[in-house]
Symmetry: C2
Subunit: 343 residues, 2 copies
């Protein structure tokens, strides 16, 4: 790794602290370095609060004084913003701090902003470079980028099944197939999502809570819970946990199985990422219509006697790309992107 | 690792060269060591040919002379034989070579032999030790041990499927789901098996060859091919490859779906290990009756549109033990033992 890559890796680590917290903004991290010393670092914590660059400058200023950053480099996972929104433009903050080089990761996916910071900073005599390998930085903003580019959220289909592709129930909350370790990973996935989407049938059969119960995770508001039902809301049991628990105001219902309106509604609520935890019918509806971006499938080491499939039959194969397999306890988690033809 | 463990690991590596070749005997390896120098090594190559100990002694004698072994230790993966069968007793060979210590791995699973070598060698003034961790040695002889203990072969159920547990055809020879890398592993699995078992329905639909076609593997005779059909032999297509190719004399048929007779027939033919490559009905018949010892399941990174399951519905869950997951190309291979209640 070059030293640029090493510092950028630190900025990525900062950014990751914000995953699940920043929507509709993306998670962003920044590190300010001079003479191979980290002067300050920061990450974007919540929409409306300072950007990562401002947090890093504040940190450097507090720890090392206002003048410490003269001639420093700032590493930031996303191209700095150049416009004043709810917070002032980061390009101004960088110049005012005396920073003389910006090394950034991803280009701003908003076409109105993309590349603008380059010109503004360069005109001010600040050297601007993009890191060579933007993979990790791009991964941080994939959900944000999808909303910017399409107006629709990033959709992850999550399921847990036996080795022969069966689930004991339409979704797994009632009777788990997988290990406690896998359930901990699912809690983290919920924490990192802005919304959790399930189906009316799952609500009726399982009555899931879809909450974050792992107390080792930092506090965050309950993600939105969206129930997509084929019928109308009256067909759903009013006593379901989603309608009666302390987070009932975070439950939305989409009627008529309309997945496009469901996704647009969630974007309007500020969601970038949606985790689908549902039975085979709804899972396959997402796949068939090409609406999902990735799958996260947990396999437990058993072959089941049930015939309830994790996916309903599909008219054609859905090939997946870039599979990663992670052992979790005695289970395996497959994550992969969905290769799309056209939406 | 202690030095005993290091030398035993070499003996295990020798033994592995014989996997798939030695039935009805087990694969065995031996290494002769004196003053931290390997004097000779050997492995059992075929039933009726010299045992590993004799091969190692011969190797040491050729390379270093007959007298070199005086005071040496022999590491052997299985307790030496103490009786004369098709070849003379290894305990005699060890004594005659002047070897003064035997360190062995597994105890002979044949109750008539188990532990006998200990007493015979000790009475001759030869020190005898068993290695502390016999896991690798025991694994080498698991199929042999099962035949010794039960009269039935070790059965591995192999299948290749999509992530949702579907196969495109009753078995995968016609249209592969999995990658070329996985197919190479399957070739190795066939090579290491004494017999390959499939079902009548697979024969009719797929007409598989069930041969070893990977020319990078050492030569060995075609494993037995056993077709289990629910009906009688006349119900099978006489033009099938298994009945007409150059290995047609290595094809057996079991009528009436009788899996017990099928397995006993294979043991009578000298088979210790059987690889089942079949469709869901036969796979689940093995599972339901508790006749299989392990599964080897390949998963390809796609979700399929078919509804042909790799396993037919089962009356109850089949839990698996000690799962290992190995990435092979873009596929994953799960191997696990089947936890049995009672056969």
């Amino acid at each position: 790794m070059t030293s640029d890559e090493q510092w950028m890796a630190q900025a990525v680590a900062e950014a990751r602290k914000g995953i699940g917290l920043t929507s509709p903004n993306p998670p962003v991290g920044a590190v300010i370095v001079k003479n191979n010393i980290v002067l300050g670092k920061g990450w974007h914590q919540r929409a409306g609060e300072p950007h990562a660059e401002r947090k890093a400058i504040e940190d450097a200023s507090t720890s090392n004084g206002n003048d410490s950053m003269k001639g420093a480099t700032i590493y930031v996972t996303l191209e700095p913003c150049s416009t004043t929104g709810r917070t002032p433009a980061c390009t101004d903050g960088i110049r005012e701090a005396g920073i003389t080089r910006v090394c950034y990761g991803s280009v701003d996916p908003n076409p109105a902003h993309a590349g603008r910071a380059d010109a503004i900073l360069t005109n001010q005599g600040i050297k601007v470079d993009q890191i060579a390998d933007t993979t990790d930085c791009d991964s941080l903003i994939r959900a944000f980028a999808k909303v910017q580019n399409t107006g629709l959220p990033w959709v992850t289909l999550k399921s847990a099944m036996s080795l022969d592709g069966h689930i004991t129930r339409p979704t797994g909350e009632g009777q788990w197939l997988t290990s406690p370790e896998s359930r901990t990973v699912v809690q983290r996935m919920r924490y990192e999502s802005d919304a959790i989407l399930t189906g009316g049938q799952t609500l009726r059969v399982d009555d899931p809570a879809l909450t974050i119960r792992d107390t080792s995770l930092p506090n965050k508001p309950q993600p939105w819970r969206m129930v997509v039902t084929q019928g109308d809301k009256a067909s759903l049991p009013p006593t379901a946990q989603l309608f009666t628990d302390t987070h009932a105001d975070r439950t939305l219902v989409q009627e008529n199985g309309d997945l496009t309106t469901a996704r647009r509604t969630l974007v309007a609520k500020g969601c970038n990422s949606v985790l689908v935890e549902a039975g085979g019918t709804l899972m396959s509806a997402f796949l068939r219509a090409g609406l999902a971006d990735e799958v996260a499938l947990f396999y437990a080491p058993l072959i089941t006697g049930t015939d309830i499939s994790a996916f309903a039959p599909l008219p054609e194969d859905i090939p997946l790309a870039d599979p990663t397999y992670t052992r979790i306890g005695n289970d395996i988690l497959l994550r992969a992107s969905i290769l799309k033809t056209e939406n």
